[in-house]
Homo-oligomer: 325 residues x 2
């Protein structure tokens, strides 16, 4: 069968040349990562969304990992409060805009909010990073740039179109920039890659309370970075959102109420029984396995490829997530 | 040479800014573009794909614009031959991989090919550009970089993660790089943005004949650039492909034949009656309107935005296409 990407051929190659120095594909590097490089996602950091089943299909479950500190913690506290109040039960997916976002929440805009929601502030879209966070922040960009210099005689210090530096902080894609008015201290912010989850808002200074959420289902809309709060990412089941019929109204909103996709429930995994809880792990972005994986994503050397790119944008290095073996 | 290319663009930018009192959104700039900035797409450059209708929906029509010279013309000649032979009629969409591609062709791999298909060559994934083509190539990257310097004190000469320069040639997103072994002459290649259409192939040196095609339905897989032939882009109806159920087999292939989506027909628009022909135009990438649009995409100043990005990757500046008014 003609394939765009030829994993079966790769497996064949691996079998034939197992003892040789065949460069590994990103998937092979991830498969070979030791157990110690995988980090379990705590049940309190997982949101489990159940969509109403479609007539010919099984249950549609979407699992979202909430971001750890330092970013967006005020919105995430609200999201935990909303989930514990079962506030999203009976709401719906209301907007599906092709190559952009899927958005869900209360279409009536009249559902009373639970008590205990905190204030949010647009100044929190970015955060000054402390020394610990700076150490965590893996500067894979620098390594890519060294390779690019070799290949393209390029003096660019980094290869991102939107930020001075991009990398990973506590498992999430993020950007980094020094600030002159902070004596050169660095500020960071999470970035809008495929599957990232953000908070809908009205015009500034409103920053959204966390009740209206969206996820990216197309090319990374990085112009939204620092303009809207990101709170997590879909780690399982995004196909149940990305394959929904596109809305035909303005901005991809569904025009008729019956087109909306009912949300049965959204729960923190910590509220589910042990059996219902997703058991997920992500590859530590500070591990050697991740560095090798990112390098292989940026320099594909497996059999299908002729010209390795010599670089990769941050959203083309998705953090590997797996079910706990 | 690049400086020469840069100067007219900077003058253009100055003109754009002098006349702009209220910042316009990208959509407003496109809506205000004069008729002379729109280029009609010739019927011989349009492929019209009809998918079998779903039970509760209307016809599903996908329209693809084939790329003009200089890129990929040997594959495109084959595609015209295949369309004229009605070769795709009765074939199917066989693969839908989330955040990657939708692929179609003959799932049986046994359908005889029509006479007259030419040879293809992987050396044609990139092309040396002549002076005319270099003049056409709009170096919007340089202008963006000037803005980035201001904002981020960044000495990067360009903001792309994969190529030294990105821009547009004859309406298509492409990349550009000097080659030392060609005495510094520039080679260019088309790039894998959302909606771009490419040619499936087996392992190199096979370069595909054009019978097996795919389109990008996720974050731009730029690592495929120069590794596979790009032949065009979807200009209407991509939602009929991007919202298809994801395949659950390896690489997103459908596991059961009945899951495949039947293709009723693929025709060159020139073979259709006047009434059936899509009448489409794209915004000239050499026009002042396009330069203003690209600038607005990179520096969003409309009411929703707080922090303009000061840059954009090439795939976040999709070339506007409209129905002929």
């Amino acid at each position: 069968m003609l394939l765009v990407m030829l994993i079966p051929f790769l497996l064949l190659q691996a079998a034939v040349h197992a003892s040789a120095v065949t460069p590994k594909s990103p998937a092979e590097i991830v498969a070979a990562a030791p157990a110690s490089d995988w980090i379990e996602i705590a049940p309190d950091d997982l949101l489990v969304m159940q969509l109403a089943p479609v007539r010919d299909a099984k249950a549609r479950r979407v699992v979202i990992q909430l971001m750890p500190a330092p970013f967006s913690q005020s919105w995430i506290a609200n999201i935990r409060t909303l989930a514990k109040a079962h506030w999203w039960d009976g709401t719906s997916v209301n907007r599906v805009q092709d190559n952009y976002v899927v958005q869900w929440g209360d279409a009536t805009e009249k559902k009373p909010l639970p008590a205990g929601l905190g204030k949010t502030d647009q100044n929190e879209y970015e955060r000054r990073l402390n020394d610990d966070q700076m150490r965590q922040w893996s500067d894979w960009t620098a390594a890519l740039t060294a390779k690019r210099r070799e290949r393209a005689r390029d003096d660019a210090p980094y290869p991102d179109s939107y930020a001075m530096f991009t990398g990973f902080l506590a498992g999430f894609p993020s950007a980094l920039e020094p600030r002159v008015n902070l004596r050169g201290a660095f500020v960071g912010w999470p970035v809008h890659c495929y599957g990232m989850v953000g908070v809908g808002r009205n015009l500034s200074p409103d920053a959204g309370n966390g009740a209206e959420l969206y996820t990216v289902i197309g090319h990374a809309p990085r112009h939204l970075d620092r303009n809207i709060a990101l709170v997590g990412r879909v780690v399982e089941g995004i196909e149940h959102l990305s394959s929904l019929p596109r809305g035909t109204g303005s901005l991809g909103f569904y025009e008729r109420p019956e087109q909306r996709v009912p949300i049965v429930s959204i729960r923190l995994a910590s509220e589910l029984s042990e059996a219902e809880r997703p058991q997920l792990q992500y590859l530590s972005t500070e591990s050697a396995s991740f560095a090798a994986y990112a390098d292989a994503r940026a320099n594909r050397r497996d059999a299908f490829f002729i010209v390795p790119a010599g670089g990769a944008d941050i959203c083309n290095v998705p953090v590997p997530v797996r079910r706990k073996p």
